[in-house]
């Protein structure tokens, strides 16, 4: 439905537009500026051209090695949590009640983790998982499992992964639930009459209807997990050593720790471009899938 064209809309948008310009575009331009300079933020700028970018993308240089290490950690983290959260979210969505008195309480319980501020999540898990006084940490050690996220790499990774799963699986579950809700009962009845197994029902009825929603869920989770900062920083601080130093954490160390703004600016631009590229791929796949479906219907 297209509405008649009026100019009123532009006037309403103008204040927001100015605000966004001030808060986002201007700082972005500053970062771009810094990325081609060598500066320590004290108003002294030395032109560096694409120097930082060259160093960054050269795995043999010190900066490059650091960058690629952090990038690799991010990729691994995102891959692991997607591999856990997506199937788990789907399973939870399928298990949730679709009607009756159980719907409301289930939805509320699932929404709770999403409502907690991110650094509170981090702090909660930091205490919860402590090997001396944390409920989880102490229990695990009491059972004989050696667990200490401050000095054991595996423990640290396990902690941040489980924390993220706890925090964000609900999002995937709620999105998939919405997708599955729209399936009329008759489809399940017809599948039962056809003698389909539970797995067949899932792959032929539920999964296709969830596909669009799943793509969005995966896109959102990938973006958020690739950019992750608060939660792991609060729990492990990037440690032990730099075992859980994600790109964002590293960036902050360089920018705010060492005030090496030029390098940091260059890193953040490359980081941003990587995320944009992956999102663009997702989007193209989604649009193409829709277009193919439209063409099939028309023929």
């Amino acid at each position: 439905m297209d509405k008649p064209f009026t100019n009123k809309a532009w006037l309403l948008v103008l204040p927001v537009f100015l605000l966004v310009a001030f808060n986002a575009i201007v700082p972005l331009m500053t970062v771009v500026n810094y990325s081609v300079q060598d500066t320590f933020g004290n108003n002294q700028f030395f032109w560096n051209g694409i120097g930082w970018f060259q160093e960054l993308l050269d795995p043999k240089s010190q900066l490059g090695e650091r960058f690629f290490d952090a990038l690799w950690r991010n990729a691994l983290f995102s891959a692991i949590i997607l591999a856990i959260e997506v199937p788990l979210g789907i399973a939870v969505a399928l298990a949730m009640p679709k009607k009756g008195w159980g719907v409301a309480p289930t939805l509320v319980i699932l929404a709770l983790p999403l409502l907690v501020p991110w650094n509170v999540v981090g702090t909660t898990w930091q205490v919860f998982a402590r090997s001396d006084i944390g409920l989880l940490g102490a229990a695990l050690n009491g059972l004989g499992i050696p667990y200490n996220y401050t000095n054991d790499v595996i423990s640290a990774w396990a902690t941040i992964i489980i924390m993220d799963v706890w925090h964000w699986t609900s999002l995937v579950a709620l999105l998939c639930y919405a997708g599955v809700q729209s399936i009329p009962d008759a489809f399940y009845q017809a599948a039962r009459i056809d003698g389909a197994s539970r797995w067949a029902m899932f792959s032929h009825i539920e999964l296709p209807k969830m596909r669009r929603v799943l793509l969005i869920a995966v896109l959102l989770r990938f973006m958020d997990s690739f950019m992750i900062y608060t939660e792991p920083f609060v729990v492990t601080g990037g440690g032990p050593g730099n075992a859980t130093t994600m790109l964002s954490i590293d960036l902050v160390k360089i920018a705010l720790g060492q005030f090496d703004l030029g390098k940091a600016a260059a890193m953040s631009i490359v980081y941003n471009l990587i995320i944009l590229a992956v999102c663009w791929v997702f989007y193209t796949v989604m649009v193409q899938a829709d277009g193919r479906a439209e063409r099939e219907r028309a023929t």
């Binding site: 439905m1 297209d2 509405k3 008649p4």
Partner: protein, 360 residues
């Protein structure tokens, strides 16, 4: 008040949903938009209402160009296929809602609501909520709400499609009475030819976004200007026979007949002969009747009549016979068609011959 569409076209991306339609609808008339699903009926109504803008062309209400005016600026009321009522308001409040928006005074609102309720036989239900009503009652509430506005143009998009067969019949009987009293321009969209015939008025036949024919309903039925109009306006579907006239002879279905009588009015060339199911008979009633023989595919009994599906390769005919027939599938059957009952459409689909006897 009149509604005029001038060369209205609407494109959505590469898809042309309405293709160059011009219509002139006079006040106090009932106009039926007849076509299959996706033929453009709903799109056309949305253009009339102002919910969508045409890509080209103009919409003129009473001489005023309203093409760019939004729906709120036009005097339009609309009834949909799904019974749409405000679920939280009583029937009385539902019907009164457009009047409250127009800020009429209480006495006037009361008078008009009672009048509309009376017309649609909702008198005893004014206090109930829509979910307590049956489907037919809910739709009547929606119609009352549309009428009470006294809009210049009332659009109804297949309003009876979601109702029971019998309820549809009842409401269909009442609608012409309601229309007659109102004096607005009524536009009624439907896929069923029998509804168009029962409602009367004028009919516009739509196919794939184009206007095939517009005129008084009986005339469009009796003299379809194009084979597309004939096909859309037939229930059961029209029977077709490919034929050719050359050298004073008619050739079809392996028969060669002398082209006299009605055929003499045709020029040479390829034609599609068409006739309606109830004109295909099982007895030779006139000397010039043409024999079409075949085998029975299936017999459908509707109580007092039977539909006999006849295979006469390469054609398949449907005949409507009086009385109950129990022909077995595969049985040979002889059927006859009187040439006076034939339509002929030329190679381009235009009407070349129509029955003259005043029957359809």
């Amino acid at each position: 008040m009149s509604l005029v569409l001038e060369h209205v076209t609407r494109k959505v991306g590469p898809l042309v949903s309405i293709d160059d339609i011009s219509l002139d609808l006079a006040r106090g008339t009932l106009n039926v938009l007849l076509g299959t699903t996706l033929s453009g009926k709903t799109s056309l109504m949305r253009l009339m209402a102002g919910l969508d803008q045409p890509t080209a062309g103009r919409v003129i209400f009473n001489g005023v160009d309203v093409t760019r005016a939004p729906v709120r600026g036009r005097s339009v009321a609309m009834v949909y296929q799904q019974f749409i009522n405000y679920p939280g308001l009583s029937v009385y409040e539902n019907i009164a809602s457009p009047l409250r928006v127009a800020k009429l005074d209480k006495a006037e609102i009361d008078r008009r609501v009672k009048e509309a309720a009376e017309l649609l036989r909702l008198g005893g239900m004014l206090g109930r909520l829509p979910q307590e009503l049956s489907g037919g009652q809910q739709q009547r509430t929606a119609i009352a709400r549309a009428l009470v506005k006294r809009a210049d143009c009332v659009l109804m998009d297949e309003p009876l499609a979601n109702l029971d067969y019998k309820l549809r019949e009842e409401l269909r009987e009442e609608l012409p009475r309601i229309f007659a009293k109102s004096g607005a321009v009524f536009v009624y969209a439907t896929t069923e030819p029998s509804e168009a015939l029962l409602l009367g008025g004028n009919t516009a036949v739509l196919k794939e976004g184009r206007l095939v024919q517009f005129g008084p309903t009986a005339e469009v039925y009796r003299r379809p200007s194009h084979i597309a109009a004939a096909d859309v306006f037939s229930d059961p579907p029209m029977n077709h026979i490919r034929a050719e006239k050359s050298g004073g002879m008619m050739h079809f279905m392996g028969q060669v007949l002398s082209a006299d009588g009605v055929f003499s009015r045709l020029s040479d060339g390829a034609f599609t002969l068409a006739f309606r199911a109830h004109h295909l008979g099982f007895a030779k009633t006139s000397a010039s009747a043409i024999a079409l023989s075949g085998t029975v595919a299936v017999c459908e009994i509707t109580g007092s009549e039977s539909f006999v599906h006849i295979e006469a390769a390469p054609h398949r005919f449907i005949a409507l016979a009086r009385g109950v027939r129990h022909d077995a599938p595969g049985a040979r059957v002889d059927a006859w068609i009187d040439p006076d009952d034939l339509y002929a459409f030329d190679a381009a689909g235009r009407l070349a011959l129509a029955p003259q006897h005043g029957k359809g």
